[in-house]
């Protein structure tokens, strides 16, 4: 008898071992899923930030080029005036005599000079349009990424969980919840979700997010360079932008147009007035900024039939019936120690329970932004309120960037963090530290 009882204890230890193994496997799967999702989130942020930086450099480059070309408009104007004076001088006869004929001989050279300067001047407008349309396309690409990327997070996190040994999450979660609730309340819940019709097996989720997986980035206008064509910002009344955009640049262009167009028909037939097609000189641009919060993922293993079918023995578990395989192989349906009563067949059986595990992750680093002090501050507030990691990005942003004007570091990286429940409070799930 003692040996028999010990044998049963041995078999129960097998069950306990299986539960522990399932728990570790599910935790591995949840951790892997959480870090995979965080990885793809970080990749998405870095891609968007690279486009931000490209946008920023593109604006700066075009700014320099446009300024040079608009300055050339003044030179072109002077060259045209000189050419016209040479022509007048040469035609008057008196002037030609007084100048010794030099004004006549200078006409071809001055004409060529004026033509080349006007050709440079005339590029200012198409480049302004190029700048505006390219910025628009970059923003469209960023919008597409911000909307499409969360799907990559979910799909690849699910695959990571699957390859780590998790069971389909749509079976695990209700299975676990039903088992837990049935122990508290006298109700029975369905142990699996109804199967979704026409769901490809490749899309079967093996891990589910409990929190938002959004990149949490959005297009925002800023107050400073390079968001606006102003270094001074609102504190300086945008004085530099007003002078450059509303006075100097249009003045240069009007002068260049007035003189060059008189001599050379060079402007495009439409949109030769900044603002009608190419937008205003300079820009009041938008960039993407944002920082996602933490994510919490769940993965698990479904319940299993007890090893060796001990839970089917009636004196260990009176409310159970023998499984079909026991009946078949051992012919024990008539043996009294097994309870085959149909009336209690639906009662809960002893089994290896389903287990679930939670894992949280978040992206750490600068996030997505550009150089605007007010927006840097906003980003820092966002990251602090949404993030749960110990190394928040705010200090990084402030220490690295500060008042400097330069490209933002592309440094988003994925991290596993302590488990946080969807309401933001710390969870108690097992967390394996690396």
């Amino acid at each position: 008898m003692m040996a028999f009882v010990m044998a049963i204890m041995v078999l129960y230890s097998l069950d306990t071992s299986q539960v522990i193994y399932n728990k570790i496997t599910s935790q591995n799967a949840a951790d892997s899923a959480a870090e995979t999702a965080s990885l793809w989130q970080a990749r998405g942020l870095n891609v968007i930030q690279q486009l931000n930086d490209f946008h920023y450099v593109f604006n700066e480059t075009l700014f320099g080029v446009e300024m040079g070309e608009l300055a050339t408009c003044l030179a072109a104007d002077a060259a045209v005036v000189k050419w016209a004076a040479d022509v007048a001088c040469c035609l008057s006869g008196v002037g030609a005599v007084l100048s010794g004929g030099s004004c006549c001989t200078a006409i071809p050279g001055d004409f060529k000079n004026a033509q080349s300067l006007c050709n440079i001047c005339k590029k200012a407008l198409p480049e302004n349009k190029y700048q505006v349309s390219t910025a628009k396309q970059i923003l469209n690409t960023q919008q597409l990424i911000s909307q499409f990327w969360p799907a990559l997070e979910v799909v690849f996190a699910s695959q990571a969980a699957q390859q780590s040994g998790a069971d389909p999450a749509l079976n695990v979660v209700p299975n676990w919840a039903g088992g837990a609730i049935a122990k508290i309340l006298p109700v029975s819940l369905p142990t699996s979700m109804p199967s979704l019709p026409n769901l490809p097996s490749a899309l079967t989720p093996y891990a589910l997010p409990l929190t938002s997986v959004s990149l949490n980035v959005e297009k925002k206008p800023g107050k400073y360079w390079p968001w606006r064509w102003s270094f001074l910002g609102p504190m300086g009344g945008y004085l530099d932008e007003i002078v450059l955009t509303d006075v100097v640049a249009p003045g240069d262009w009007i002068i260049g147009e007035a003189t060059c167009a008189t001599v050379f028909v060079f402007l495009s037939p439409q949109g030769d007035i900044p603002g009608s097609a190419g937008g205003p000189w300079g820009w009041k641009d938008s960039y993407y900024i944002g920082h996602p919060g933490y994510m919490t993922w769940v993965a698990g293993k479904t319940n299993e039939t007890e090893l060796a079918g001990l839970g089917k023995i009636s004196w260990l578990n009176p409310a159970s019936s023998p499984p079909a395989d026991v009946n078949y192989w051992l012919g024990q349906s008539n043996v009294k120690m097994f309870n085959a009563s149909a009336a209690i067949a639906s009662s809960p059986t002893m089994e290896i329970p389903a287990v679930i595990s939670l894992a949280s992750s978040q992206v750490e680093g600068t996030g997505v932004t550009a150089e605007d002090e007010s927006l840097l501050s906003e980003l820092g507030t966002m990251a602090t309120s949404l993030g749960k990691g110990s190394a928040g990005p705010l200090s990084t942003i402030q220490s690295v960037l500060g008042p400097l004007v330069g490209m933002v570091p592309i440094d988003s990286t994925p991290h596993l963090i302590q488990v946080y429940l969807p309401n933001g409070s710390p969870g108690t799930s097992m967390w394996i530290y690396h």
């Binding site: 040996a3 570790i24 870090e35 390859q163 780590s164």
Partner: protein, 198 residues
């Protein structure tokens, strides 16, 4: 009164028979207990091995995903298996490509869509067993009963394995744009650049 010789002999024989039965039952009971104890030891040992293998698989997969070479990842088994146990660990790392709708993601579109699936196998098989092996169950792996098929031998019954997968977290796209996005951006710039030819 002196009993007959025959009567004395029969009484002595009855006593000896009862003692033998008690001894036999005791021996059987003891054997059962020993058997159960051995079984319990085996299950505890194998359960422990399975859990150790699981933890080791996770750690090695995590290292692989963080850019540590598979050779180095294999040497990290020292954290889960101590001493001579390390000699019985087999490590395998597979670099899988993530897929979408059953189709692998081409690296030309999304760089490094990799996930490392690492497996750790621990234990001995019949080829590893030698005479000074410290494990008492190893001998069973070599047992072959008469007329027993070879495929029914318990060759790997002391082996456990576990696996875990981890993504390639060492590449966060922080130094380049994915080719698909770069190509679209280049086409867009070229298209917009056509303005200059007007």
């Amino acid at each position: 009164m002196k009993l007959p010789v025959i009567a004395n002999r029969s009484k002595g024989r009855r006593h000896r028979t009862l003692a033998g039965a008690i001894l036999a039952e005791g021996a059987i009971g003891l054997c059962l207990l020993v058997f159960v104890w051995i079984l319990f030891s085996y299950i505890s040992y194998m359960s422990n091995n399975r859990i150790r293998a699981n933890m080791s698989a996770r750690y090695s997969a995590w290292l692989s995903g963080n850019g540590v070479s598979s050779t180095t990842s294999a040497s990290t088994d020292q954290y889960a298996f101590l001493g001579d146990d390390q000699k019985m660990v087999t490590f395998k790392s597979t670099k899988n490509t993530l897929g979408f709708l059953g189709v692998s993601v081409p690296t030309m579109i999304v760089p490094n869509p990799y996930i490392y699936s690492n497996s750790v196998t621990f234990g001995t098989n019949s080829a590893d067993i030698n005479s000074d092996s410290p494990f008492p169950f190893n001998m069973l792996a070599l047992n072959k009963l008469p007329f027993m098929r070879v495929d029914l031998m318990m060759t790997n019954f002391t082996m456990v394995s576990a696996h875990c997968a981890w993504p390639d977290v060492s590449d966060t796209y922080n130094t380049y744009l994915p080719p698909a996005i770069s190509a679209v951006a280049a086409l867009e710039l070229a298209w917009e650049g056509g303005i200059f030819t007007q």
